[in-house]
Symmetry: D2
Subunit: 161 residues, 4 copies
């Protein structure tokens, strides 16, 4: 699907919000693609991100899926809008065993209030991407910012106030 | 619901698996309750765990929900069994604004192969618990360990091999 | 949890909406409980509702779960509000083998725009209720009706316009 | 993705299972595509399938999504295998307003025991397909049939025994 952004500086807005999420730094995540209705978030393997077999922990997989979906939706929102995650669901289809995790989010539908997105998460192993998780999410647009503060907010990861 | 564990040392088994998950240490999580069919995981607020408003990031909420559900299921498995998360879904019902996050998982049904669990996540604010997320998860039992290694494995957070 | 309805005739409003859903009659469903924040929907076994083993089809289980959750949320809405289902997730935990299906919905959180609900579905066999499905749903409140028509609408089962 | 079926007569097996589901006849559903890893289920608009606005009820949308996903997975199973739905999640992205409902299921991953599928549901209006729902499902393979009966079973729509 192709989408037209409402805000010309959508990429800068997404980047500012992402940079304000301390947890993204904590898991080493970076934004590697920001297009209207699409967003990619990646992180490299690090022992701090693993479960008991040394693979990426499901929590890291879910975190990246949530952010990729949320920022995909955020690319289509207005200059003063904030966004929050209403819910998301992750099917873990294969072990996240590899050197890098790549979460690609895309908007299925961008409504007035709610957006529905999908994010697929791939693990890179021996130079090849393997699907390790598939997710669906609902995001909510908050006009004029979360809690009335007005400023840029971004994928805030929680229910409405 | 009340459940009888198959393995007398279920608590030690859960604890060993949890301790082997490096990501749990990375998010400061600790196991605070291990009963047959129930498990509680908590973490304290820290700037590294936040989104752009300073609240707990949805990824942290999801991580704790996944672990509480997974270890609740794991309490009912056998001495040599491993476990992995098949899927989970999180509804974020309120901002995770507070000092501490408490995820309480419980088993709805423990089948031969699959377990279904719920985990509610509360945020502690001014000394009171507030529901911030509700989740449902499917977990899979792997007889004799994940990938054939036989030993204790625990909530491995990924699809079957 | 206990909730206070915004509309004194919430039960009549729920009933009118339910009665307007032709599909409810098609699956023989009836409303058997309407309390603030809670709703129960039931149907009796009939060959037309079965899958290949003669048990209730998952589609019937999901339909009742959706309606019980949606009308639980609808009990807390205003006189002119409509409601629609944003998403729902069903874990099928045991075969729906029995004489009657009972879906009990309850509100976890009733927000300004969104409500989060759970519905558990039980199958009655030999006079006893057995849990066969657990679900979580997000519902959306539409002020003044769906599509601007203003009148009572109820759980409409689709995305926003 | 492309998949190789394990059973040469997978289409006949899917068809036999579908025909044994009385609820499919009750909602007027028909199988219109059966390929390895893919399946399409459709139904025409009928007043008996509607909610209060005359659109397809969410329960019908969910039913078709479940069947399309389940039979997509079933195309890849063996001659004696049965299948059951473990869980599914549906995001309702737009009103199901139209003449016909088309659910297209596809396999994301077909594991030894579990399969993960997606199904998109479209409503046909003025001759054009519009996405009205997106779903993800987990299906389970039962070797040698459900409950030990051995014969062909198909998407049985309930948890394991």
């Amino acid at each position: 699907m192709s989408f037209a952004p409402r805000h010309p500086d959508f990429a800068a807005k997404v980047r500012a919000s992402f940079d304000a999420q301390r947890f993204m730094q904590h898991v080493g995540a970076r934004l590697t693609e920001i297009e209207p209705g699409r967003c990619t978030v990646e992180t490299d393997h690090d022992p701090s991100l693993t479960q008991q077999h040394g693979f990426f922990h499901a929590g890291v997989v879910a975190t990246l899926a949530d952010d990729a979906a949320g920022y995909a939706a955020f690319t289509l929102m207005g200059a003063l809008d904030s966004i929050l995650t209403v819910e998301f669901k992750v099917n873990l289809v294969a072990p996240a065993k590899g050197d890098r995790l790549v979460a690609r989010g895309e908007v299925l539908r961008s409504g007035r209030t709610l957006s529905t997105c999908r994010a697929d998460v791939f693990v890179v192993r021996d130079g090849e991407e393997h699907l390790c998780a598939a997710s669906q999410a609902t995001l909510m647009r908050l006009v004029g910012g979360f809690g009335g503060e007005g400023g840029p907010a971004g994928n805030s990861g929680h229910g409405e106030g």
